[in-house]
Protein backbone atom coordinates (compact mmCIF):
# COMPACT_ATOMS: atom_id res chain seq x y z
CA UNK A 1 0.00 0.00 0.00
CA UNK A 2 2.61 2.49 1.12
CA UNK A 3 5.03 1.31 -1.55
CA UNK A 4 2.45 1.75 -4.29
CA UNK A 5 1.65 5.20 -2.95
CA UNK A 6 5.31 6.13 -3.18
CA UNK A 7 5.41 4.91 -6.74
CA UNK A 8 2.30 6.90 -7.60
CA UNK A 9 3.73 9.94 -5.90
CA UNK A 10 7.04 9.82 -7.73
CA UNK A 11 5.30 9.25 -11.02
CA UNK A 12 3.00 12.21 -10.65
CA UNK A 13 4.13 14.79 -8.10
CA UNK A 14 5.28 17.29 -10.68
CA UNK A 15 1.95 17.30 -12.43
CA UNK A 16 0.15 17.72 -9.13
CA UNK A 17 2.24 20.69 -8.17
CA UNK A 18 1.70 22.25 -11.58
CA UNK A 19 -2.05 21.74 -11.19
CA UNK A 20 -2.08 23.27 -7.71
CA UNK A 21 -0.22 26.30 -9.05
CA UNK A 22 -2.65 26.54 -11.97
CA UNK A 23 -5.58 26.52 -9.59
CA UNK A 24 -4.03 29.20 -7.37
CA UNK A 25 -3.50 31.38 -10.41
CA UNK A 26 -6.95 30.71 -11.78
CA UNK A 27 -8.53 31.56 -8.43
CA UNK A 28 -6.68 34.87 -8.31
CA UNK A 29 -7.66 35.55 -11.90
CA UNK A 30 -11.35 35.08 -11.19
CA UNK A 31 -11.85 36.15 -7.59
CA UNK A 32 -9.38 38.94 -6.88
CA UNK A 33 -10.86 42.43 -7.02
CA UNK A 34 -7.72 44.33 -7.79
CA UNK A 35 -6.90 44.37 -11.48
CA UNK A 36 -3.14 44.12 -10.97
CA UNK A 37 -3.73 41.12 -8.73
CA UNK A 38 -5.68 39.56 -11.57
CA UNK A 39 -2.69 39.92 -13.84
CA UNK A 40 -0.40 38.46 -11.19
CA UNK A 41 -2.78 35.53 -11.06
CA UNK A 42 -2.64 35.30 -14.84
CA UNK A 43 1.14 35.12 -14.70
CA UNK A 44 1.04 32.36 -12.12
CA UNK A 45 -1.56 30.46 -14.13
CA UNK A 46 0.44 30.64 -17.34
CA UNK A 47 3.73 29.75 -15.71
CA UNK A 48 2.10 26.73 -14.12
CA UNK A 49 0.88 25.58 -17.53
CA UNK A 50 4.41 25.95 -18.81
CA UNK A 51 5.65 23.82 -15.91
CA UNK A 52 3.11 21.20 -16.93
CA UNK A 53 4.47 21.18 -20.49
CA UNK A 54 8.10 20.98 -19.40
CA UNK A 55 7.20 18.10 -17.11
CA UNK A 56 5.78 16.29 -20.14
CA UNK A 57 9.12 16.57 -21.89
CA UNK A 58 11.26 15.39 -19.00
CA UNK A 59 13.08 12.08 -19.33
CA UNK A 60 14.58 10.50 -16.24
CA UNK A 61 18.34 10.45 -16.58
CA UNK A 62 18.21 12.58 -19.68
CA UNK A 63 20.39 15.52 -20.51
CA UNK A 64 19.67 18.92 -22.01
CA UNK A 65 18.79 18.85 -25.71
CA UNK A 66 22.14 20.17 -26.92
CA UNK A 67 24.22 17.64 -28.77
CA UNK A 68 27.18 16.32 -26.84
CA UNK A 69 30.41 15.78 -28.77
CA UNK A 70 30.55 12.97 -31.27
CA UNK A 71 30.80 9.52 -29.76
CA UNK A 72 29.26 10.31 -26.38
CA UNK A 73 26.15 8.27 -25.93
CA UNK A 74 23.45 10.30 -24.29
CA UNK A 75 19.75 10.29 -23.62
CA UNK A 76 18.25 13.66 -24.46
CA UNK A 77 15.03 15.03 -23.03
CA UNK A 78 12.18 15.76 -25.41
CA UNK A 79 12.93 19.15 -26.99
CA UNK A 80 9.54 19.85 -28.52
CA UNK A 81 7.76 21.12 -25.35
CA UNK A 82 10.64 23.51 -24.79
CA UNK A 83 10.07 25.06 -28.19
CA UNK A 84 6.34 25.36 -27.62
CA UNK A 85 6.88 26.98 -24.24
CA UNK A 86 9.39 29.47 -25.63
CA UNK A 87 6.62 30.65 -27.92
CA UNK A 88 4.05 30.60 -25.14
CA UNK A 89 6.24 32.66 -22.77
CA UNK A 90 6.39 35.40 -25.39
CA UNK A 91 2.64 35.30 -25.72
CA UNK A 92 2.32 35.52 -21.95
CA UNK A 93 4.50 38.60 -21.60
CA UNK A 94 2.69 40.26 -24.51
CA UNK A 95 -0.69 39.73 -22.87
CA UNK A 96 0.69 41.02 -19.58
CA UNK A 97 2.01 44.16 -21.24
CA UNK A 98 -1.30 44.91 -22.96
CA UNK A 99 -3.21 44.19 -19.75
CA UNK A 100 -1.02 46.49 -17.70
CA UNK A 101 -1.38 49.33 -20.17
CA UNK A 102 -5.15 48.87 -20.03
CA UNK A 103 -4.94 49.09 -16.23
CA UNK A 104 -2.98 52.32 -16.51
CA UNK A 105 -5.67 53.73 -18.78
CA UNK A 106 -8.46 52.58 -16.48
CA UNK A 107 -6.71 54.24 -13.57
CA UNK A 108 -6.41 57.46 -15.55
CA UNK A 109 -10.11 57.45 -16.38
CA UNK A 110 -11.61 56.30 -13.10
CA UNK A 111 -8.90 56.84 -10.50
CA UNK A 112 -9.31 53.34 -9.08
CA UNK A 113 -8.24 49.87 -10.12
CA UNK A 114 -10.47 47.85 -7.85
CA UNK A 115 -13.45 46.04 -9.33
CA UNK A 116 -15.89 46.90 -6.55
CA UNK A 117 -14.86 50.55 -6.58
CA UNK A 118 -15.00 50.60 -10.36
CA UNK A 119 -18.59 49.38 -10.21
CA UNK A 120 -19.40 52.20 -7.79
CA UNK A 121 -17.76 54.71 -10.13
CA UNK A 122 -19.74 53.34 -13.05
CA UNK A 123 -22.99 53.65 -11.14
CA UNK A 124 -22.14 57.15 -9.98
CA UNK A 125 -21.60 58.41 -13.55
Amino acid sequence: MIGSFYELFFARYNYWMAIILMLIGLYALIAKQNLVKKLIGLNIFQTAIFLFYISLGEVRGGTAPIYLPEGVDALYVNPLPHVLILTAIVVGVSVTAVGLSLIVRIHEEYGVIDEAELLQELRRR
Partner: protein
Protein backbone atom coordinates in the same frame (compact mmCIF):
# COMPACT_ATOMS: atom_id res chain seq x y z
CA UNK B 1 14.49 61.60 -8.59
CA UNK B 2 17.92 62.35 -7.22
CA UNK B 3 20.59 61.14 -9.59
CA UNK B 4 23.30 59.24 -7.85
CA UNK B 5 26.74 59.56 -9.37
CA UNK B 6 27.72 56.01 -8.41
CA UNK B 7 24.71 54.54 -10.14
CA UNK B 8 25.46 56.60 -13.23
CA UNK B 9 29.08 55.61 -13.41
CA UNK B 10 28.49 51.95 -12.73
CA UNK B 11 25.74 51.68 -15.29
CA UNK B 12 27.81 53.55 -17.86
CA UNK B 13 30.42 50.89 -17.23
CA UNK B 14 27.98 47.96 -17.24
CA UNK B 15 25.80 48.74 -20.23
CA UNK B 16 28.35 47.83 -22.93
CA UNK B 17 29.03 44.53 -21.21
CA UNK B 18 25.34 43.70 -21.07
CA UNK B 19 24.98 44.56 -24.73
CA UNK B 20 27.96 42.47 -25.77
CA UNK B 21 26.58 39.61 -23.72
CA UNK B 22 23.22 40.04 -25.46
CA UNK B 23 24.87 39.84 -28.86
CA UNK B 24 26.76 36.76 -27.72
CA UNK B 25 23.52 35.14 -26.60
CA UNK B 26 21.85 35.88 -29.94
CA UNK B 27 24.67 34.53 -32.07
CA UNK B 28 25.45 31.65 -29.77
CA UNK B 29 21.85 30.42 -29.95
CA UNK B 30 22.67 27.69 -32.44
CA UNK B 31 25.38 26.17 -30.26
CA UNK B 32 24.08 26.39 -26.73
CA UNK B 33 21.34 27.84 -24.63
CA UNK B 34 20.11 31.17 -25.89
CA UNK B 35 18.75 32.61 -29.06
CA UNK B 36 17.19 35.64 -30.58
CA UNK B 37 14.46 36.09 -28.06
CA UNK B 38 16.59 35.81 -24.95
CA UNK B 39 19.28 38.00 -26.44
CA UNK B 40 16.77 40.63 -27.44
CA UNK B 41 15.37 40.71 -23.93
CA UNK B 42 18.83 41.04 -22.41
CA UNK B 43 19.57 43.87 -24.83
CA UNK B 44 16.35 45.58 -23.80
CA UNK B 45 17.45 45.11 -20.18
CA UNK B 46 20.48 47.28 -20.89
CA UNK B 47 18.13 50.05 -21.96
CA UNK B 48 16.14 49.55 -18.77
CA UNK B 49 19.31 49.99 -16.77
CA UNK B 50 20.04 53.18 -18.68
CA UNK B 51 16.52 54.45 -18.06
CA UNK B 52 16.87 53.78 -14.34
CA UNK B 53 20.23 55.50 -14.20
CA UNK B 54 19.83 58.45 -16.55
CA UNK B 55 16.09 58.97 -16.77
CA UNK B 56 13.64 58.25 -19.54
CA UNK B 57 13.96 61.52 -21.46
CA UNK B 58 17.71 61.27 -21.74
CA UNK B 59 17.60 57.75 -23.17
CA UNK B 60 14.73 58.63 -25.45
CA UNK B 61 16.68 61.44 -27.01
CA UNK B 62 19.47 59.10 -28.03
CA UNK B 63 17.30 56.26 -29.16
CA UNK B 64 14.02 57.75 -30.25
CA UNK B 65 10.66 56.41 -31.37
CA UNK B 66 11.62 56.55 -35.02
CA UNK B 67 14.53 54.20 -34.48
CA UNK B 68 12.35 51.85 -32.49
CA UNK B 69 9.63 51.68 -35.10
CA UNK B 70 12.07 51.14 -37.92
CA UNK B 71 14.00 48.47 -36.01
CA UNK B 72 10.93 46.54 -34.91
CA UNK B 73 9.75 46.49 -38.51
CA UNK B 74 13.24 45.57 -39.71
CA UNK B 75 13.46 42.46 -37.54
CA UNK B 76 10.29 40.88 -38.84
CA UNK B 77 11.21 41.94 -42.35
CA UNK B 78 14.51 40.06 -42.08
CA UNK B 79 12.70 36.96 -40.93
CA UNK B 80 9.88 37.07 -43.44
CA UNK B 81 12.14 38.02 -46.32
CA UNK B 82 14.54 35.16 -45.68
CA UNK B 83 11.46 32.97 -45.76
CA UNK B 84 10.44 34.44 -49.09
CA UNK B 85 13.96 34.14 -50.51
CA UNK B 86 13.68 30.40 -50.02
CA UNK B 87 11.00 30.39 -52.71
CA UNK B 88 13.44 31.47 -55.41
CA UNK B 89 15.36 28.18 -55.67
CA UNK B 90 12.04 26.36 -55.65
CA UNK B 91 11.77 25.52 -51.99
CA UNK B 92 8.84 26.07 -49.67
CA UNK B 93 8.52 29.06 -47.38
CA UNK B 94 11.30 29.03 -44.76
CA UNK B 95 12.99 26.05 -46.41
CA UNK B 96 16.57 27.20 -45.82
CA UNK B 97 17.95 24.02 -47.28
CA UNK B 98 16.92 25.13 -50.75
CA UNK B 99 19.17 28.18 -50.63
CA UNK B 100 22.02 26.06 -49.34
CA UNK B 101 21.53 23.65 -52.24
CA UNK B 102 21.36 26.48 -54.78
CA UNK B 103 24.48 28.33 -53.67
CA UNK B 104 26.39 25.23 -52.69
CA UNK B 105 27.87 26.82 -49.58
CA UNK B 106 28.18 24.30 -46.76
CA UNK B 107 26.64 25.17 -43.40
CA UNK B 108 24.65 28.01 -44.96
CA UNK B 109 21.63 26.55 -43.24
CA UNK B 110 23.17 27.31 -39.88
CA UNK B 111 24.11 30.84 -40.94
CA UNK B 112 20.57 31.49 -42.12
CA UNK B 113 19.30 30.35 -38.75
CA UNK B 114 21.69 32.85 -37.18
CA UNK B 115 20.36 35.57 -39.47
CA UNK B 116 16.82 34.70 -38.47
CA UNK B 117 17.78 34.78 -34.80
CA UNK B 118 19.29 38.23 -35.31
CA UNK B 119 16.01 39.33 -36.87
CA UNK B 120 14.09 38.01 -33.88
CA UNK B 121 16.54 39.71 -31.55
CA UNK B 122 16.19 43.09 -33.25
CA UNK B 123 12.41 43.02 -33.14
CA UNK B 124 12.25 41.82 -29.54
CA UNK B 125 14.78 44.42 -28.43
CA UNK B 126 12.99 47.27 -30.18
CA UNK B 127 9.52 46.22 -29.09
CA UNK B 128 10.48 45.63 -25.48
CA UNK B 129 12.16 49.03 -25.36
CA UNK B 130 9.09 50.60 -26.90
CA UNK B 131 6.83 48.98 -24.31
CA UNK B 132 9.10 50.15 -21.50
CA UNK B 133 9.13 53.69 -22.92
CA UNK B 134 5.36 53.77 -23.08
CA UNK B 135 4.85 52.25 -19.65
CA UNK B 136 7.42 54.46 -18.01
CA UNK B 137 6.22 57.68 -19.61
CA UNK B 138 4.15 59.38 -16.93
CA UNK B 139 3.69 62.51 -18.98
CA UNK B 140 5.19 64.68 -16.27
CA UNK B 141 8.81 65.52 -15.53
CA UNK B 142 9.40 63.00 -12.77
CA UNK B 143 10.34 59.64 -14.16
Amino acid sequence: MRRNVIIKTVSRFLVPFIQVYALYVIVHGALGAGGGFQGGVVFAASFILMIIAFGLTCVRERFNYKWIVMLSALGITIYATIGLLCLIPGGNYLEYGSIEALLGIPHLHGYLIDAVEIGIGITVMATMTSIIYDMGDTGGESS
